[in-house]
Each structure stands twice: as structure tokens, then as C-alpha cells.
Amino acid sequence: MIDLLRRIGLWGRGVVVAIPYLWLLLFFLVPFLIVFGISLSEAMLAQPPYAPLVDWLVDEDAGTTKLQILLNLSNYLRLGGDDLYILAYLNSVKIALVTTVCCLLLGYPMAYAIARAEPSKRGPLMMLVILPFWTSFLIRIYAWIGILKANGVVDNLLQWTGMTTEPFELLYSDWAVYIGMTYCYLPFMVLPLYATLEKLDPTLLEAAADLGCRPWKAFLTVTLPLSLPGIIAGSLLVFIPSVGEFVTPELLGGPDTLMIGRVLWNEFFANRDWPVASAVAIALLLFLVVPIMVFQHVQGRQTEAGR
């Protein structure tokens, strides 16, 4: 009887898990397979603008039906053969790396200061970091346009202090993209860092001090290694989406700010070359597989540590 009840319980659990599971299979996993399929097909003028991969060839004279599958690798060869794509990938990695480092340099002291603050103040201080994240990021990027452009806030400030006399424009450069992306992704860095730093046992630092360790050395040898999971999680949370970023370089970057997200967007919407856009997406995904796996590993470890 108990066994039966347990079996019903297990069955119930199965049904419960099945709902989100099926949703993710249909709307997350299957789409990637479709993208992969289309990346192997040929572009053509049709609706939708790509050739079907699978064709049934009906030969009425012979009375046979043949299945024909056409795989077209030229989209991938184009990616490898054209400097534009390779440069775009390299430049995306560069911009994402700079953004990650900026977020880390700015976010680590913030997370550390909040974790060291009095317990009652930690919540509100953390809230202040997350609050901008709740407002539209498009609008926050837009705010930077007014600051960085010629005759904008920075320019006026510099002219007023006499540091420059010529109009000075930071907007439409890689610098503007770094600033805008660091600004948008900063909370993603501070959150996991704060989570690990807050759990850190302060008695470890006391022990280090008792044994004659100077604060700076204690930080380097105790705090920093122990916060490594937070650093890794935060860095990946910033780095991976940064590589494919589209909006920030489009609004703040110059025409020569080449990023792979922008290339994909243009191939898809401007050139309407869906197969090449798919190939760009698959290549980007392959490129990010290792970082994403590392992220999931760290995420899983952190969840286990929380138990």
C-alpha cells in the first residue's frame, strides 16, 4: 500500500517536472537544433528565405520516391574565410574581456565594503546596487549619450575647467562601449561577489591577524582565494552575454565598433541571409560552450555549498 502511494507520489513528481521540462525542450533546446539545421541550408529568395534541407524526390516514371538531404557547408566556410567575421569575433572577445575586468575592479571593492558593513545596513546598501538594474537599461544607456557626446556633460566639464578647448567627444568610440557595458553589467558582478563574501567566516581573518598577518596579505592569501567562486561566477555572468551584446555597441559605439552580435543582427535583418546569420550564431555558441559549462559547474557547486 505504502509502495503504491509512493509510486503515485513519484508519478505525480514526474508530471510536475514534465511541465517546465517540456517547455524548455520545446522553446530552448529544439530552437538551437533548428538554427543548426538552417545554418547548413542555402539562402534563397523565398518565404522563409532558405532552402529546405530535406526533400522528397518523386520520380513518377520509375514509381520511386527518394529522400534527398542537402547539407551546405559554405556558410561556415564564409565565416572562416572572411576577415570581417574573424575580426568581429576577436573584437567582441576583447570588448567583453575589458568589460569584465572593469566590472571586477569596480564591483569587488563595492561587494567587499557591503559585506563588511553592519548586518542591518547590508540589505539597503545591496538594494542600492540592484535598484538601477530594475529600471530600463536602454534608458540608462541613453543617459550616457547625453554625458559622453560633444557638448555633453563631460565635454562641458572639461571645457569649463579649461582642460580642453576643442569640443571633445567620447561617444561613438570603443571607450563609450566599455563605459556603457560596465555600467549595465555591474550588478551582475556585485551580486555573486557579495553572496560569497558575505558568507566568509570573519574568524579566519582574525586568526590570520593573530598569527601576525598584515591586513593586505590576509586579503591576498585568505579572502581573495575564498571568494574565487564568486569572482568566477560574476565574471562569467558578465563575460558570456557581453560577447553577443548588440544594443550598447549599436547606440554608443562608432561605425567601426565591430561586434559579433551586431554582425548577426545585420546579416539577419539587413541582408536577410538567414543561413549565414544562423552559422554566426552556432559559431558564437560553440565559442561560448566552455565558458557556459564552467558557469554551470560553478553554479552547481554554489548551490551545493548552500545546503
Partner: protein
């Protein structure tokens, strides 16, 4: 002590970096001048113009509807997923499931958008659904990427929660479904509320995925903002940004008050239970 002083400076610098642009935006929304950075006197005319901009208001209404629907759907799916990950132990396909749940957190938006659009196109060819793209497809897309956030919030809340309460209820003969609705759900309610709010904001904020999966005639608010920022700036955006920030700040403030009160109540209840009162 000296170290703390430097740290405090770093913290204030970080806050300045986060808030100065927002403050400037609010300041210039009351600017009479059309030029964004030239002060031409105090005026609320951009707010008045904003309220007459039908295209913008229509897009805002669509965005609110999509955000409300996708946040609700992603809370249901995300809660179940978080529960499965935190409480069901090992089950077949758990690794794949865990991977699919966390991957949308980091997936670049262009990839998510492109893959979902290609799915919708393929589905429409194969089974005739969805018939064209619009509110339904945007809602499905937003649900898919926001449920990851909800699942992570719920999971971390459940992991830090004492399992013995649920076990006690089971021992007293409650069925799993009853345990969930009577014990687990009230305890994780604050996490569900914050998950819903987060999903709502993420949906309201998304421009890339929405651009891929929307059809003609279904333009969301971020898409309108994006194109107006890209093709010449209108000071109305300053006013819109200010309004949105006031609404968000008020909502967060109320939500945090409610959650703080619930938390205090819960602590009191737990203490009473421990003392046997």
C-alpha cells in the same frame, strides 16, 4: 580602519557611477530646451507631449500586457522548476534540465532571439501555429528566458530553507500537493513575489528578443525607445524615463516593505513554534 576608509570611497564612487547618469536624466526631463544638455528653464512640456504620443502609449500598453502575462507564466514554470531542482533529488535527465534552466541566464540575447524566431517560423510552416508573430510569440519568448531567473531565485530560497518543516507535515499525513500549498508556498512567497517582479522588469526591458519575435504591428515600448534613441533623440524620452523610474522605485519600495513585514511575521511565528506557544 584606514582600509575601511578606502573601501568606503570605492563604494561611494560605485554608487556615483550608478546614479549620476540617472539623476542627470531626471534633471533634464524638466528642461525647456530641445537640446538635451543646454538648460533652457524649467518646464513640464515634454511630459505633456509624452501623454499625447499615441504610438508610444500603444507600445507601452502592449509591453505591460506582455510583461504581466510572461511574468505570471514564468513564475508558475520557474517555481515548479526550482522546486524540482531543490527538492526532488536525482531524477532522470536532471543534468540536462539543470543545464537548460541556467543556460538562458547567460545566453547572448541575439542567439535566444534568433533561435526562437526560427522555431516559430518552422512551427508555422509545419503545423500552422503560431499564425504570424505578435503578442503570443513575444510572451512565449519572454517566459522562456525569464523563468530561468525565477527558478534560480526559488531554488536558492528552498536550498537555504529547513526541509524538516515539509518532512514534519508529510509525517503527519499530508499529501505532497497539500504540503506544497500549505507549507512550502507561503514560506517561499517573498521569493515568488521578487521573482515575478524581476521577470516583469526583464520583459519590460527587453529589446533584442522582442525585435526578433515580433511581427508588423506589434511594437513594444523598448523597440520604440530604441529606434527613437538611434534616429535622433527626443526629449520626450527623458520624461518617459523619469516616469518609469518613479513607478519602478515606488513599486520596489512597497514590495520591500511588504516583504520585510512578512519576514518579521515569519520569524515571530517560527519563534512561537520553537517556544511551543
Amino acid at each position: 580602519m584606514k582600509q575601511m576608509g578606502k573601501l568606503a570611497w570605492a563604494l561611494w564612487f560605485g554608487y556615483a557611477f550608478l546614479y549620476v547618469p540617472i539623476a542627470l536624466l531626471i534633471f533634464y526631463s524638466f528642461n525647456e530646451s530641445r537640446l538635451v544638455t543646454v538648460w533652457g528653464g524649467f518646464s513640464t512640456k515634454w511630459y505633456a507631449e509624452l501623454l499625447q504620443n499615441d504610438q508610444l502609449l500603444g507600445a507601452a500598453w502592449l509591453s505591460l500586457k506582455v510583461a504581466a502575462m510572461s511574468a505570471t507564466a514564468s513564475v508558475v514554470l520557474g517555481t515548479v522548476a526550482g522546486l524540482a531542482l531543490a527538492r526532488f533529488g536525482r531524477f532522470r535527465g536532471r543534468t540536462l534540465f539543470g543545464g537548460m534552466i541556467t543556460a538562458p541566464l547567460v545566453m547572448p540575447e541575439v542567439i535566444t532571439g534568433l533561435s526562437l524566431l526560427l522555431l516559430f517560423v518552422a512551427l508555422e510552416q509545419a503545423i500552422g501555429w503560431p499564425d504570424g508573430r505578435g503578442m503570443t510569440t513575444i510572451t512565449i519568448a519572454h517566459t522562456t528566458f525569464t523563468m530561468a531567473y525565477v527558478a534560480v531565485i526559488i531554488q536558492s530560497r528552498l536550498v537555504s530553507l529547513d526541509e524538516s518543516l515539509e518532512e514534519a507535515a508529510m509525517d503527519l499525513g499530508a499529501r505532497p500537493a497539500k504540503v506544497f500549498f500549505v507549507i512550502t508556498l507561503p514560506i517561499i512567497a517573498p521569493a515568488i513575489v521578487s521573482g515575478w517582479l524581476l521577470a516583469f522588469t526583464l520583459s519590460l526591458d527587453d529589446v533584442v528578443v522582442a525585435s526578433f519575435v515580433s511581427g508588423p504591428g506589434s511594437t513594444t515600448l523598448p523597440m520604440v525607445i530604441f529606434s527613437s534613441v538611434k534616429f535622433g533623440i527626443s526629449p520626450q524620452i527623458n520624461a518617459l524615463a523619469t516616469l518609469m523610474m518613479v513607478v519602478v522605485a515606488t513599486g520596489i519600495f512597497i514590495a520591500s516593505l511588504v516583504m520585510a513585514r512578512q519576514e518579521r511575521q515569519r520569524k515571530r511565528d517560527e519563534q512561537m513554534a520553537v517556544q511551543g506557544g
